[in-house]
Amino acid sequence: MIKVYIGDRYVYDVRSYAALARGAGTMNGLGLRASVTAVLAALALTAAACGSSGSGGGSGGSGGTISIGVPVPLSGDYASAGTDILHGAQLAAKKINASGGVNGKKIKIVSQDDACQAQTAAQAAAKLMSQGIAVAAGGYCSTAALPELSAFHRAGIPFVMDASTNPQLTEQGFTDAFRTIGRDDEQGPIAASFITKFLHDKRVAVGNDNSTYSKGLAESTVSALKADGAQVVFNNALTPGQSDYTSFLTKVAQSKPQVFYYSGYYPEFGLMLKQAKQLGLHFTMMGGDANNDPTLIKTAGSAATGALVDTAPLAQFLTSAKDFVSAYKAAYHAGPGPYSSYEYDAVGAAAQAIKTAGSTSPGKIISALHGITSYSGITGSFHFDSHGDRKPANYIVTIVRSGSFAAYKKLDLSTGQWVNVS
């Protein structure tokens, strides 16, 4: 497993197993390309700095517009995910502007490519600030979001993140960090609740892949399971990146579980689904949100049928996002991707805060964001807690049926019961 470091700080990326594979490639042979990128980024920064001194570098927007900065990957392997997010932001701005804008001014979306890389991300944040943004809303990779957050924090500009789930992001004591998506460590109790209160299973095996994300999720799931009265009969890590997990699964089966929860990534879970069927194992298989990837179904084939995955819901699974999905399809002739709806809400919440604050002064926007009691977004109603994390976090359980993920159950917060996703 490849570890990603920024300075002395360990950062991992929840979304992208492929990034790990890519990272390995980079370590082997693309060092040159990375340094070329760094030089280009430095040049770009110089250019941006010159540009801002030329224009006077005003902040807060002028000439009847308020700028919202969107740092996302627009090149490289995650360009398509970044483009989806940017489209979400543009749809939100269009909607707000159509109903008169904010405080008589139009919202303007300013985007910048962060390439999902730490160095590029720091430059992207600098460029956005030189363009006079009032708020930043966006981000995709946690690896890139971290330096962006530090840069915005130094300038006192609030950053509402839409897709970065690393708990560390909102644990730095910053008052200007927010996110509209749940964080990794909130998933464990949700998974445990589904296993004990819906499946009514008492014997649970838990597996992880020893990465920080996966281990953390496994630990929080295990403690929540124990608190819910279930028996954790197996709790161990596997070595990721291999092809054969039959012996690992045989060992899991020895503990006679009713359900096996895997907190790692889809490549291993896909292989395990396939190999469990081959071994004639019959316990339920459930995975964490890093398993929400079509490769899983392609690899496991018919063996994936019935597999459960808990995840932040896609826009198409939410009734509140129905209009958004059709508007998105009409505008961009493609599906909205996994995070564009969270970006839509990030821009929406930021715009509402600017409205409440009645100004584009960053300090006032930050207190207005904290002051939101219930923002009814397309991904559900939420507010930000003192860390800036979305409350309540939004998770559903999906099930694999006839070759794709289908919405299955969600936790009804008022009754504490698992109900159908309507």
Binding site: A18, A21, R22, A24, G25, N28, G29, L30, D77, N210, N236, A237, L238, T239, G241, Q242, S243, D244, Y245, T246, S247, F248, T250, K251, A253, Q254, P267, G270, L271, K274, K277, Q278, L279, G280, T295, K298, T299, A300, G301, S302, A303
Partner: protein, 299 residues
């Protein structure tokens, strides 16, 4: 008891795939004293060649048996050609220079293959369509599929074929002569360049077969898969006594079994540590490996 049998079956399956790859390492080392770091990546190329064949033919509704056969043959042909090309371009010009130069050339080939596959097929995973029948049977509580049995049989058959080729044919004898003393072999009228190229062809064909079979059996492949696979296969080649063909076969199966039992009775996290501990242990007591013979150091 049923768990023990299951670990045995699992270990033999992964060990057979490994043994095919280990053979390539050991043959090439035997003949030109080169640790061919690109060998694992040749397996990867075989996997992707098979993947391209399988997806194309499945889309045209060919029967499963024909798809598998064509994919296997195509994968073996492509890696065979690739192996010969690599030898001709990257190794032959360096045969008489220092051993370090040729080793670095091998690393370069490995990177070129990995990054080439990344550019063509992307950094993500590719999945073979699941076309093989899933029918399985159980003996004494251990499950195995008929496909697994067939693949294991095919691996053994290929290994037996190689063994007979090397020991019963004139070309095979020439290979062994070359491994003993290149200059003496040349004096005896053996075409050294042709024999070396042939060794690369054989080793790469086996690697291609292993790559396609692993693709069909496990489904999931990516551009970096050759690295870990190559590392384990190389370990098997050294454990069996590098340069020794039956040694690589036995050690390949042995490493598969050690891996499986370690996953089962210790922990998956410890498997690599245990495999390398066994390797070190064997090398301490028998520096030439399990089956290796003492070879006089060549000048």
């Amino acid at each position: 008891m049923s768990a023990f049998l299951q670990y045995l079956v699992n270990g033999l399956t992964s060990g057979a795939f490994l043994a095919l790859v280990a053979l390539g390492y050991t043959m090439i080392y035997g003949i030109i004293r080169l640790i061919n770091f690109a060998h694992g990546d040749v397996v990867m190329v075989g996997s992707f060649a098979g993947y391209t064949m399988v997806t194309t033919l499945v889309a045209q509704h060919w029967p499963v048996a024909a798809v598998v056969l064509v994919a296997l043959v195509a994968g073996m042909a492509i890696t065979g050609g690739l192996g010969m090309l690599i030898e001709r371009v990257a190794y032959q010009p360096l045969l008489n220079s220092s051993r370090l130069a040729i080793l670095i050339s091998a690393l370069g080939v490995s990177l070129a293959l990995e990054e080439g596959a990344r550019i063509i097929f992307g950094a993500g995973f590719s999945s073979y369509p699941n076309i093989l029948p899933a029918a399985n049977f159980s003996v004494g509580g251990a499950h195995a599929s008929y496909v697994q049995l067939a693949m294991f049989g095919l691996c053994l058959l290929l290994m037996l074929g190689l063994y007979l080729f090397v020991h019963r044919t004139a070309t095979g004898t020439a290979m062994r002569a070359l491994a003993m003393d290149r200059d003496a072999a040349r004096l005896m009228g053996i075409n050294v360049e042709r024999t070396i190229i042939l060794t690369f062809l054989l080793g790469s064909v086996l690697a291609g077969a292993s790559g396609v079979m692993q693709g069909l059996y496990y489904s999931q492949i990516n551009f970096i898969m050759g690295f870990l696979l190559g590392l384990r296969a190389f370990t098997a080649a050294v454990l069996g006594g590098i340069g020794n063909i039956p040694g690589a076969m036995v050690a390949g199966l042995l490493i598969g079994l050690i891996g499986s039992f370690s996953d089962g009775y210790v922990s998956s996290q410890w498997t690599d540590a245990i495999i390398f501990a066994v390797l070190i242990g064997v090398l301490v007591f028998k520096p030439t490996g399990l089956f290796g013979e003492r070879v006089a150091e060549r000048a």
